[in-house]
């Protein structure tokens, strides 16, 4: 039965790729119908089990960091790619790697799953570990409400047989109650600079959005963290692991990526307690950000950094790290399903850190974001829904480096225009 499932699955995959689609949904669907236990059967054979990474922000980067950390330790890691973080996507990723005879030579699976799909996945495949990053305002038009999202992650946590790694600084994550919980966290000084979802723009009378911080005390200050991000300056980070201090340069940029790395370290040391932290830190120093997380391109002679923004917390964190007066800025907002249809969230972001003049806004909702910026007293030079034209306008003076913040589908399209090829 497995052989036939693999054969048919691979066939459908080839056919759907020939038709020019990314080939992730259709083969998964066929295999799911044909052999509902297929995924379980394959993944249960992995000697070190199945690990699920979930949460609103940072899944892709964290999964990438874990995968690279463990591969450097000579472990064979199976992982899924961005754009396939749902059950059928995982099936498709398995079909990619499995041989016709059913050979699937991996030590463990590290899977990035969004909150709703993680629940579905756990119902189909027993998991060993979960790493839960955060619950923030994402596409509320999809999940309904933020507390509902927290409930989803609670369900996932309850399914993990061995241990769950939790972000101590996220109140909704920290209060998840499981038998074997491991925490990762921030030092007190860094907490100040790291807004959680509850201290995004709410009370407008305040000039600083972060000043609401004290109203939301960190839930679990006593919980000792296995890994702690102690300090971060420019591109150097220091971690405290098992009471010992490690300092390193990082290629990852932004405080949120350094914090994702802290979670990744906690997960690796939970699954493999014998790994040497010093080696992990050394590997970490060379790991780069994931796709759309500050990737750098050259286009028409201009240097462009591209940042994915998909919800107010991620956008606010990006602005905290990457807003200055040395760059020209463009913001591209689409409102397709993958972006979130509701663009209200733009009003929960404080844009005051950006320069007074924004070079361009683009995407389907170019005027919406321009309007948002107007109410933060910014002016927008070019409002151009067409991404190609907006990019041209942005790159008129190539000597100034550029930074673009874009929602998911806008980023895919921009990347295609910049590199001349599609990524999915």
């Amino acid at each position: 039965m497995t052989f036939i499932t693999i054969l048919i699955g691979k066939l459908v995959q080839t056919l759907s790729r020939l038709r020019g689609t990314n080939g992730s949904a259709a083969p998964g669907l066929v295999v799911e119908r044909l052999n509902p236990k297929f995924l379980n059967k394959i993944l249960q054979k992995l000697p070190h089990g199945v690990i699920v990474i979930s949460g609103t922000n940072g899944k892709t980067t964290t999964t990438k960091i874990i995968t690279e950390l463990l591969r450097a330790e000579n472990l064979r890691v199976f992982t899924n790619n961005t754009g396939s973080n749902f059950v059928r996507g995982v099936i498709s990723a398995v079909l990619d790697k499995i041989s016709l005879t059913g050979k699937f030579d991996y030590d463990l699976a590290v899977l990035e799953l969004d909150e709703a799909h993680a629940v579905k996945f756990c119902a189909a495949v027993p998991i060993d570990y979960a790493l839960l990053l955060n619950v923030q305002r994402d596409q509320l038009d999809r999940f309904g409400e933020i507390d509902h999202t927290a409930d989803l992650l609670n369900t996932v946590a309850g399914q993990a047989k061995k241990a769950v790694v939790l972000n101590r600084e996220d109140p909704r994550i920290a209060k998840i109650h499981v038998k074997h919980a491991v925490f990762f966290g921030l030092s007190d000084t860094l907490k100040e600079t790291f807004p959680s979802d509850d201290n995004l723009l709410t009370a407008p009378a305040q000039t600083s959005t972060r000043s609401t911080h004290t109203k939301h005390p960190i839930n679990n200050p006593q919980a000792p963290a296995l890994t702690l991000l102690e300090s971060l300056s420019d591109k150097r980070a220091s971690f405290k692991i098992n009471q010992k201090h490690y300092s390193t340069a990082l290629k990852l940029t932004g405080i949120y990526n350094a914090f994702n790395a802290t979670g990744a370290l906690a997960l690796c040391l939970t699954v493999f307690p014998n790994l040497a932290p010093a080696n992990l830190i050394k590997t970490l120093s060379n790991i780069e950000g994931a796709f759309g997380r500050g990737e750098t391109f050259t286009y028409n002679g201009a240097t462009i950094e591209l940042f994915l923004v998909k919800n107010p917390s991620a956008f606010q964190l990006s602005l905290a790290s990457f807003a200055d007066n040395e760059h020209d800025y463009m913001i591209a907002i689409n409102d397709l399903i993958a972006d979130g249809r509701d663009v209200s969230w733009l009003w929960n972001v404080d844009f005051s850190a950006l320069p007074k003049e924004i070079a361009a806004t683009s995407g389907i909702r170019a005027t919406d974001i321009a309007l948002r910026l107007k109410y933060d007293e910014k002016t927008v030079k070019t409002i151009e829904p067409d991404l190609t034209l907006a990019l041209k306008a942005l790159c008129k003076n190539p000597e100034t480096p550029k930074r673009i913040f874009a929602t998911y589908t806008a980023m895919l399209e921009l990347r295609k225009i910049i590199t001349g090829k599609s990524i999915l």
Binding site: H148, A203, D342, S344
Partner: protein, 278 residues
């Protein structure tokens, strides 16, 4: 932009209800819009907040009341507290204080919220309406036709179904009157609607209950609606109505008229929103 309003030596005071618990879907944008549209006209403005369990500010100082949407947990947290301040809010609204409540606080300004598990959450009973939990979320872009503000655009995301108890024999004013901007006279209170009426008629979307095509409610100078977006940035007429009414209530002599602002970008963004599929 440089005219100074004679009636505004004291800043225009906007009260934001429960910003910590009721702040979903960019509702902060409504407050920011009111604030900026005052500042751009040199009208001094002050934002007050009222949080759970705090002392309520002197109601005679409050010119505009605003309350946003929250999720279920936020809503049940504030419900009991809201009952405590309900008499003050009711007095203010009956006296004509311009008010805007969105989604969660719209529901709680009604008489009751019947939850999915069969319980009833008592509302502030400022508006004669009741909400019953529905089994599907009504989500998407929404367009309304309103009597006072023309076409209104927003985004709705709610599962509660709201039914208005309209006064006997009355026809929703939004269905039969076309353009009656609220009259402002020095001797009479300017009122949006003396009785409870729907805020608008649904052109695209679900609205109050997905059946009778009504959306929101208006009563005196209170506007209650499910529309996020947020509502005010892309519907600047409503923002200006709140500001203008607040100024008119303060003024002892001639009705102050607002300095016009350049709303080209507001209207462009509105047009884009109108063109988007449900």
């Amino acid at each position: 932009m440089t005219t100074k309003h004679p009636a505004t030596t004291k800043p225009l005071c906007i009260l934001h209800l429960y910003p910590n618990e009721m702040n979903l879907y960019g509702d902060h944008g409504n407050i920011l819009t009111l604030k900026k549209r005052c500042e751009w006209r040199n009208i001094p403005v002050e934002i007050l907040t009222y949080e759970l369990g705090e002392a309520f500010p002197d109601p005679s100082n409050i010119d505009i009341i605003f309350g946003g949407g929250g999720q279920d947990s936020g809503q049940s947290k504030i419900a009991a507290d809201l009952l405590k301040i309900a008499p003050i809010l009711k007095n203010a609204i009956n006296a004509g204080t311009p008010t805007l409540v969105i989604c969660g606080l719209y529901q709680l300004f009604g008489k009751a919220f019947h939850t999915a598990d069969g319980n009833t959450l008592e509302g502030a009973a400022i508006l004669d309406l009741e909400t019953t939990a529905g089994d599907t979320r009504l989500i998407g872009n929404i367009t309304l036709k309103t009597a006072h503000f023309g076409t209104v655009v927003g985004y709705e995301n709610h599962s509660g179904l709201t039914a208005l108890n309209l006064p006997n024999g009355s026809q929703p004013s939004s269905l039969n009157s076309s353009k009656n901007r609220p009259a402002s006279h020095s001797d009479t209170q300017p009122l949006l609607s003396p009785t409870l009426q729907p805020f608008g008629t649904v052109v695209k979307g679900a609205g109050n209950n997905n059946t009778d095509q009504t959306e929101g409610a208006i009563y005196k100078n209170c506007i209650a609606t499910y529309l996020h977006g947020p509502l005010l940035p892309k519907n600047p007429k409503i923002a200006d109505f709140l500001i203008e009414t607040a100024l008119a209530r303060r003024s002892t002599n001639a009705t102050p008229s607002l300095t016009p602002l350049d709303d080209a970008l507001e209207l462009q963004a509105k047009d884009t929103a109108l063109s988007r599929p449900r």
